[in-house]
Symmetry: C3
Subunit: 258 residues, 3 copies
C-alpha cells in the first residue's frame, strides 16, 4: 500500500508580491486543509499562455496520478472565455479554456466545462477567478470530489495553434517554442526523429551538429543537443544561446543531414 | 469534525537567493515540525512596509481561523522599534510594530508586545529578527502556545498613516494605495460607495466610467472597475495601467457623478 | 518523543518559470510523498556556485537533524563532474561535486560519490540531473534509505577556493564573499576575531568603526556591524551598501585597530 499521493500544484502569472497567489493558498487551506500544495511557479510572464503551457507540460506527468494541476494565466478573466477541467493520464488540470492545458489536450483525456457555482466562493469577483473559482474547484477535486459534478462534457475546448514539424527528404523543420531561464532555445523537433549526424540551421546559419552534452563544446559556444523533455534544444555552454544568437520564440529551425 | 487548519504563512522582503527565508523555514521545521508553512511572498520591495501591508491584507482572512501570519519587512531591526502579536478575526499576526499589520489593526483585535526572550533563539542577532524572534514566536503560537505568554497588552501600536477617502456632493476622492504586478492601480475607494454611472478622474484626466470587467474595453485601453477586494481599480486590458498613465502610488483619484 | 523532522529543501538556479523546479517536486511527490519539501530558493544566479554555497550555508544547520538539503547549481551537468552526498552534523547534502557544499565540506563529514543508477529515474537525461538523479536520491534518503547504498566513499571532493583571512598585528584582512538582496556586503571575517574599536577599510577608504546595529547611523549611511551568521558585514541603513560603495564580491576588506 502506497502513501497517499494527492496534491495540488499552482502555476500563475501573478508574481507573489501582491498576495494574490497567497489568497489562492488561503482558499486551499480552508477547503482542502490536508492536501499539500506546491507552488510550481507564479512567474509566468503576464498573460503569456504559451509560456505557461510549456512550463505546465514539463511537470504534468512527473507528478504521481491523482495530482491536481491548477493553471491561471488568464487575460480573459471576467469575459466570455470558459473554464475547464481536464483529466488525462490520471492527473487533473484546472484552468481557463485558453490553451494553457494545450499539451495535455493534445493527448487523450476527458474535458469538462466548469459550470457549478455551488463549488465557487461567493461572491465571484470579475477579476480574480484564481481565488474565486479555480482554487475552490481544485480543492473540491483534491478532496475527492467527482469530476462530473464540476460541469458538463466539453468537446470543443480552445486549442492553441501549434507550429508544425515537417519532415521531408533528409531534413526536419520546426520552431523555437520556448526560451528558458538559461537562454536555452527549446524546439518542437522530437529528438527521436532526427537522423544521426544532422546539422542544425537557423536560416543560413550553421549551428553545428547534434551533440550529446554541454561539455562537447567550449564555454560560450553554441551546442545543439537533446533536452530533458526529448526535444532538440539549442544551448550555449555556460551562457545564454538566446542572447548569443538573438533568436526569439517562433524562429524556424531546420535539422538537415550532412 | 474538520481536519486541523493551523498553518503559518510568511511574508518578507528578503528575496530567496541569500537563504534568509530558508533560515526562517529551518526554525519552523525545528520548532513546529508538523505545521505546514506557506511562502506568501519574499518579494516585497526592500523596506516597503506599505506594500507589505497591502499584500498581507489581501490574504489575511482568506485563510482559515487559526492561521498564524508572519510578516517581516523590518527596516528598523535592531533599533528601538517594538515587535507585536495581533489577534483579529481568529487569525494571528506576528510582525514588527511598524504598520505592517495596519489593515488588521484598523479592525478590532488584541495587540501584544513581543517581550518574552524564553521564546526566542539564543543568541538574538541585531540584524535578523525574522529568524531569531518572529519565526520562533510564530512556531510557539502555531504549536498551540498561549498568546498572553508572548508579552503584555499594547494599546498604542504604531499606526500607518492612511490616505483619506472623502465623500462630498456627487464625488468621492481617494488615492492609489497599491500598484500590483500587472500595473493595476488599486485605490482606497470602496466600490459600494460609488454611485452608478460615475466617471473616474486623475486631476483633469477622464479615465472613463466605472465598468464591470476587462472585456468591456479593447485591448490596451484603460478600464475602471471593482477589484477583487472590493475597491475601485484602474486597469488596462492586457496591459499595464501604471505604464500607460504614468501614475505612482499616492496619486489622487476622484469618482464623480456624470 | 518529538514529531518527525525529516524534510527536504531545494536550492537551484532554475528560476521557476520553466517548470524545472516543479519537475523536481514531481519526483519527490512520487517517491517520498509524505516528506514536506521546502523551496529554499530557485533564484541563485545561473551557474553561480559561490552564491549557492553561501545561501545553503546560511540555513544548513538551522534545520533540524535529518533534513536532506538538495542543491543544484550545475553548469557541468552531463560532463565529467561527479555528484556527491555529504553527511555533516546530522544533515545530509545532495549536490554536484563542484563546491556547492563547500562550507559543510570544510567541517567534519562523510562524503560519498553518487553512483547507484538503481536510484535514478530511467532514462537519465544529459541536461537535467536535478530531476533525474538529485531528486530521486534525495527522495530515497528522506524516505530512510541508507547513505552507503548511494555510492562509495569519496576522499577528494572538489574544494572551492576560499579567500584567506589574515591576522597580523592589529589588523585582520579578509574579503567580501557575498552580496545579498539588500546590498549588504558580507565578509569572511569572523566577528569574534575583531578587536573592539576597530575601523573597517576598503583600500584607503575609511568605512567607519564596527558598530552594533543599523540604528547607530543615519539613513543612507554606511554601517559596519556583525551580521546574523557571525561575520562582519558592511551595510547601509535603509539603503544598498553595494550600490553606495560600488564594491563587488572578492573585494578586500581590512579591520584595523584605531
Amino acid at each position: 500500500m502506497r502513501e497517499p499521493t494527492r496534491r495540488i500544484t499552482l502555476l500563475t502569472d501573478f508574481g507573489t508580491s501582491d498576495g494574490y497567489a497567497a489568497a489562492m493558498h488561503g482558499v486551499l487551506a480552508d477547503r482542502a486543509p490536508s492536501v499539500p500544495v506546491i507552488d510550481a511557479t507564479h512567474d509566468i510572464p503576464p498573460g503569456d499562455v504559451i509560456a505557461g503551457a510549456a512550463a505546465l507540460a514539463r511537470y504534468w506527468d512527473v507528478f504521481p496520478a491523482g495530482t491536481v494541476h491548477v493553471g491561471v494565466v488568464d487575460p480573459g478573466v471576467g469575459g466570455q472565455r470558459r473554464a475547464i477541467v481536464l483529466e488525462s493520464d490520471g492527473r487533473i488540470g484546472v484552468a481557463p479554456d485558453n490553451g494553457l492545458l494545450e499539451p495535455m489536450l493534445a493527448r487523450a483525456g476527458e474535458c469538462r466545462r466548469i459550470a457549478n457555482p455551488d463549488l465557487y466562493r461567493d461572491p465571484v469577483s470579475n477579476t480574480f477567478h484564481g481565488r474565486d473559482i479555480f482554487a475552490p474547484v481544485a480543492a473540491y477535486l483534491a478532496a475527492g470530489g467527482l469530476i462530473d459534478r464540476v460541469g458538463p462534457l466539453l468537446d470543443d475546448p480552445f486549442r492553441l495553434p501549434t507550429p508544425p514539424v515537417v519532415l521531408a527528404g533528409g531534413t526536419i523543420d520546426g520552431s523555437i517554442v520556448h526560451i528558458d531561464h538559461f537562454g536555452n532555445l527549446v524546439t518542437n523537433i522530437p529528438a527521436d526523429r532526427v537522423r544521426a549526424g544532422s546539422i542544425a540551421w537557423h536560416r543560413d546559419r550553421d549551428l553545428g551538429p547534434l551533440r550529446t552534452t554541454y561539455a562537447d563544446v567550449e564555454p560560450g559556444e553554441i551546442v545543439v543537443l537533446v533536452g530533458s523533455s526529448g526535444f532538440v534544444e539549442i544551448s550555449a555552454r555556460d551562457a545564454s544561446a538566446a542572447a548569443i544568437l538573438d533568436i526569439e520564440r517562433g524562429a524556424k529551425i531546420r535539422l538537415a543531414e550532412r
